[in-house]
Every structure is written in C-alpha cells, then in structure tokens.
C-alpha cells in the first residue's frame, strides 16, 4: 500500500493541482447546491465528482461515500501513478478525516425527528453533547434512539429522513470539542 502521507504530497501535480482541502470544499459545494455530479478543471487538471444515487430504492453497496472519478491530465509523464495517488487523496477527503463520524449500530430506517412532522433532533451547526439523542433508527417496529458519543458541532448529516441504513453506515459528522 502507498503511504497516505506521501500520496497526499504527490497529489499536487501541475501548478496548483488538487489537494485535500480543495476536494473537501468541492464536496461541500456540491452538497450546498444539491448537485449529483460535478466536474472541475483547473490548470490542466480535471476532477469529476459523482454522488452515489439513492433514487433507485434501497440499494446498498459497500462504498457509500461519493464516488470520485479522477482523470489524469493529458500528456502526463506517468498517468497511472498520478491518478492513483490522487484517488488516494480523494478517498481520504471523503472519509472526512477530522470529523468524528457517528455510525449506525443497527440495520433499520433512519428518522431525523421523534415523530412524523415534528422538529428534527438536530441540524447542521448545532452543538451536541455526549449522550444527546441525534436520531431514531427503526428496526423490527422498535424505535431505537441513537445518542452522540462525543461533544461537538454537527458538521455533516450523511443520511436523509426515512432512508434505510445498514450496519456501520455513517450518520453524522461531528467536529469534536477539544478535551481540556
């Protein structure tokens, strides 16, 4: 396996290239504007980002994070090694390294609010405390409250109300408060 650190430093080909922060920003941009697919070209470097679609019913695949297709610049010296190193960096960014990810402990249906039509438990930007209820996952007619296991700010909500989730599926990304 390639050393991730090395891969990250290699991921700056050409004048500017694509780096981790860049990709993170692009992903957020996509989320903000509700984009399914996005292509970005800069200084001879091209990145195509595509979200895994949830429209065709509950089809689960091992990789639930956005699919990232990276095209190497034309005429590059070693396109294969370059593209693979970028892919390495890209997959790191999609793991949202600095966020504490709360994953689903069970298989079931995700609900953002305590009852249909009621206010959701949390929004992006909310401060949450360890032990606070973040959502409900229904499994076999039982409503299971999922609690936060960290103090921090909610940065990402990876799933939508009513969406089926599998074991280990990322639900929330929390930026943890520093321990004192």
């Amino acid at each position: 396996m390639a050393d991730p650190k090395k891969a990250r430093s290699n991921a700056s080909p050409g004048a500017q290239g694509v780096n981790l922060q860049e990709l993170e920003r692009l992903l957020e941009f996509m989320g903000k504007h509700g984009l399914e697919e996005f292509e970005y070209e800069y200084a001879g470097f091209r990145v195509r980002l595509k979200k895994a679609s949830h429209n065709s019913g509950p089809i689960f695949r091992p990789v639930m994070s956005p699919e990232i297709v990276v095209a190497a610049p034309a005429g590059a010296d070693s396109p294969s090694s370059q593209s693979s190193s970028v892919r390495e960096a890209a997959s790191e960014s999609s793991r949202t390294d600095d966020l504490h990810v709360i994953k689903s402990p069970i298989v079931g249906t995700f609900y953002a609010s305590p009852n249909p039509g009621e206010e959701v438990f949390i929004h992006v930007g909310d401060q949450v405390k360890s032990g606070q209820v973040l959502c409900i996952i229904e499994a076999m007619k039982l409503m299971n409250e999922i609690e936060s296991d960290a103090d921090g700010e909610v940065m990402r909500i990876f799933v939508e109300n009513g969406q089926p989730v599998e074991y280990g599926e990322p639900l929330f990304g929390i930026y943890p408060h520093r321990k004192k």
Partner: protein, 449 residues
C-alpha cells in the same frame, strides 16, 4: 413466486442460492458482516446490506439485524442456507410473524428435529427403526445406571440439543458411566444451554448413510435416495458419495418408503435429510434429521438431475411437488470432496489470503466455491472453501474423475485438505468401498505422520 429473496448466509452456499434465484429470475439481497465486505455473494447479489461486525453472533446469527435487513429491502422470503440460522426455530417463527416466508420446514418441524431425543421418539412412533436407547432424557444418576444396564454396553451419551458431534461420550462399561454422565451434562449445559442428555446403544464400525427428502406444503413428499457419508473426521463429514457402495435397490426402495410414510405423518415440508447408522449386519437405524439444505446436497443433484435449491424455493412459494419434480431416476455415481482451509495433517484452520486459485474442469466436474485468487479467508467462519463434486457413469469412473480433478485443483497461499483427499482416493479400502465412520481415525497414515 417470490418478489425478492434475502440470503441469510455467506460463502459457497450463499452463491449456490444466488445461482438458483438468478435462474428463477428472482432478485436477491445479500447480507454480510464487515469481514465479508469484498465477498462474492455481496458483489453478485442485486442488493447487499451490512448487518454487523465479523463475529457471527453479532451478524449472521443476529436475528433482529437479519429481519431488519429483510424489512428495509422489502423482500418476501429468506433462504437461510445451512448452519447459522437455518435450524433456528425462533428465527423461522419471527419470519412467519413478520410475513416473510422462511424457505425451509415449518418452525414446529425445526423445533421437533432440533430436540434430538424428541425427534427420535417421534420418528420411532412414526415407524422408523431407531437405535435402542433411553426413552427421552436421562434425568439423574439412578436412571442413568438403570437405563445403561437395560440397553447394554457400550453406550453413547448424547446431548439432547447437541449436534455436529459435540456433547457426545462413549461409555464402554458400568465403571465409566457416572463420570461420563456428569461431564456430558456439564458440557451440554455449557455448549447448548441445557444439560439434558440421552443414551443410545453404541453401534460399532457403523456406516453413516442419509436419505434426502423433499416435500411440498400439501402433504406430498418424496425421497431422492441416499448419500454415503462415512468418511468423517471427529463427526465432521469429509467426503460423500451417492449411491452408497453397500446399498442395494431393494433396501433403498423399502427404507425410502418407510421414511416417506413417517415424514408425512409428521407433516414435514421442504428439503431435509434423514440420517442413519448402518450396522455391519446391514441393519439401518435412524439417528437424527437435519431440517435444512445440506452441504453435500450436490451429490444428490448430480445423480438425480434435480436442482434441490430451486425446488426448495418453488415449493416454499406454494408449487406442488408433482409440478416441481417429475419422475425420479438415479443415474451413475457422484462424489464430493470438501476442501477446507485446514492443514491436511494437523487440521489446524488456515485462514489468510489465497495467492493462486485454479479450479479443475472438464467432463463430469462441478466446483461450488466462493473462493478466488486474492480472496481472504476470514478466521471467523467455517473452514469450508470449496466443494469439488464429480459425476461418472459408475463409482470407478467417478473416482478416476475425482483423482484427475484433485490433481488439477491448485490453491496457494493457504493450506487445504486437497492432499488428504488425494490420499483417500488412493486408499485400497476406500477404493474397494470397504470403510466405516472410523476410516480416517484408523488410517493414521492418511491423517497424521
């Protein structure tokens, strides 16, 4: 027919069920643990749901997770395969309560066959020959002494809820009885949660012979002949074949008919296997019934030309036996070698990455496997990685094909039992059809050096 089927299993049997569903045009849902993220059953199914961490208890055996996966993917049937939840009566019941068809016998039939002493009693009442033994469980030491003396030594002490050879003790005389009785009870309590044991007369040098049955939901049931499964190690089958070298058409027909009559009385449906021990005199005794599809089912498929898994699905969907199965005819001889990820001499499990994988082919050869080059065999599950099945017009041709297939089967990176099978296929007693369940234990040259 079903809208969509969830396959609550992994490995080669998950792929086997997938194959049946694909041929029937039924969409599939795979479930998998984190250790099986890259497994073939996940890749080949139409949908896949991760149901837990690697340990089976938290994933493949976790009933709420499996049922939740079935609910969110909106399936109307679950095939449990073998092992895991396949003979769990509670699971079958939860499926029934959730309006999901459990592809297998009713929860009542599973429960009955799961309690070995009750199953034995029920089968005896229904007219099956059973091994002389205690009537139900043996409650205490006084009863143990009395019962053992009445049966006559040597006897077997068996856990009521046991299986797979666990919780068994051989007692050759009265002096050994009480200690064996106590330890068997303690072991049974630890392994199965119940200390209940029962006694059976020990059959010396027995052959293990089992009958495949198939029934519909309307009381129709047939048998599909026998499989000879005497080549075992510590009660685990190693090699199976059909027909048995010692079974004649008359005995097959007579015993088969008695099985059909008995199981009809018990209202048995779906696929099942009735296991017997055969004395050297030729007498056959019922020992237990497995209420599921079995590992060695391809042996029967090869000699009958019947797809047992597809039949199971069609029967569970409510088709009649006569529509699913035409006239049954036995053709030629079939043999199966279980290729395990184990050291062929010490039998220590050998998990890890397969570096090279080449399966044999050509006339009369079938390989059921979920392994491939670069696959990782996880250490959490069963060591079975491939079933090598051959068919020939007679036993000699089947053996010749098996030898050829074993030579051409290449697995590198992990240890497998292929070398053991090559030795068995070269053994004069095996070739002559002259063996019993102690064959491997006795043939020290085969198993250890």
């Amino acid at each position: 027919m079903f809208r969509k089927i969830l396959i609550a299993n992994r490995g080669e049997i998950a792929l086997r069920i997938l194959a049946a569903c694909k041929e029937l045009g039924i969409p599939t849902v795979a479930v998998y643990s984190e250790a099986d993220r890259n497994a073939l059953h996940v890749r080949f199914a139409d949908e896949a749901v991760c149901i837990g961490p690697p340990r089976s208890a938290e994933s493949y055996l976790n009933i709420p997770q499996v049922i939740s996966a079935a609910e969110i993917t909106n399936v109307d049937a679950i095939h449990p395969g073998y092992g895991f939840l396949s003979e769990n009566a509670n699971f079958a019941e939860v499926c029934e309560a959730s309006h999901i068809t459990f592809i297998g016998p009713s929860s009542d039939a599973i429960r009955l066959m799961g309690e070995k002493d009750k199953a034995r009693q029920a089968m005896a009442d229904a007219g099956m020959p059973v091994i002389p033994g205690s009537e139900g469980i043996v409650p205490d030491e006084d009863a143990a002494e009395e019962t053992a003396a009445a049966i006559g030594y040597p006897i077997m002490v068996k856990a009521s809820e046991g299986g797979g050879g666990r919780g068994m003790r051989v007692v050759s005389n009265a002096a050994e009885l009480l200690l064996a009785f106590q330890t068997a009870r303690a072991e049974a309590r630890q392994a199965f949660g119940s200390p209940d044991v029962y006694f059976e007369k020990l059959i010396e040098r027995p052959r293990h012979i089992e009958f495949q049955v198939l029934g519909d939901l309307y009381g129709n049931l047939i048998h599909l002949g026998e499989r000879e499964c005497s080549i075992q190690r510590r009660h685990q089958k190693v090699l199976e074949e059909s027909p048995s070298p010692v079974m004649d058409a008359k005995t097959r027909c007579e015993l088969g008919e008695r099985i059909v009559v008995a199981l009809k009385k018990l209202n048995y449906s779906s696929a099942g296997t009735v296991e017997f021990l055969r004395e050297t005199s030729g007498k056959l005794h019922f020992i237990e019934m497995n209420a599921r599809i079995q590992v060695e089912h391809p042996v029967t498929e090869m000699v009958t030309g019947i797809d047992l898994v597809k039949s199971q699905i069609r029967l569970a969907a409510g088709e009649r036996l006569a529509e699913v199965i035409g006239a049954v005819e036995f053709r030629g001889h079939a043999m199966e070698c279980r290729i395990n990820a184990e050291d062929p001499e010490t039998f220590a499990p050998s998990a890890g990455r397969i570096t090279a994988f080449r399966t044999p082919g050509g006339p009369g050869i079938r390989v059921d496997t979920a392994a491939h080059a670069d696959a990782v065999i996880p250490r959490y599950y069963d060591s079975l990685i491939a079933k090598l099945v051959v068919h020939g017009h007679d036993r000699a041709e089947a053996m010749a094909r098996m030898r050829r297939a074993l030579e051409g089967f290449v697995i590198e990176g992990i240890k497998t039992t292929i070398p053991l099978h090559r030795k068995i296929l070269a053994d004069p007693d095996f070739i002559a059809g002259n063996f019993d369940t102690h064959f491997l234990d006795r043939s020290a040259a085969l198993t250890a050096r």
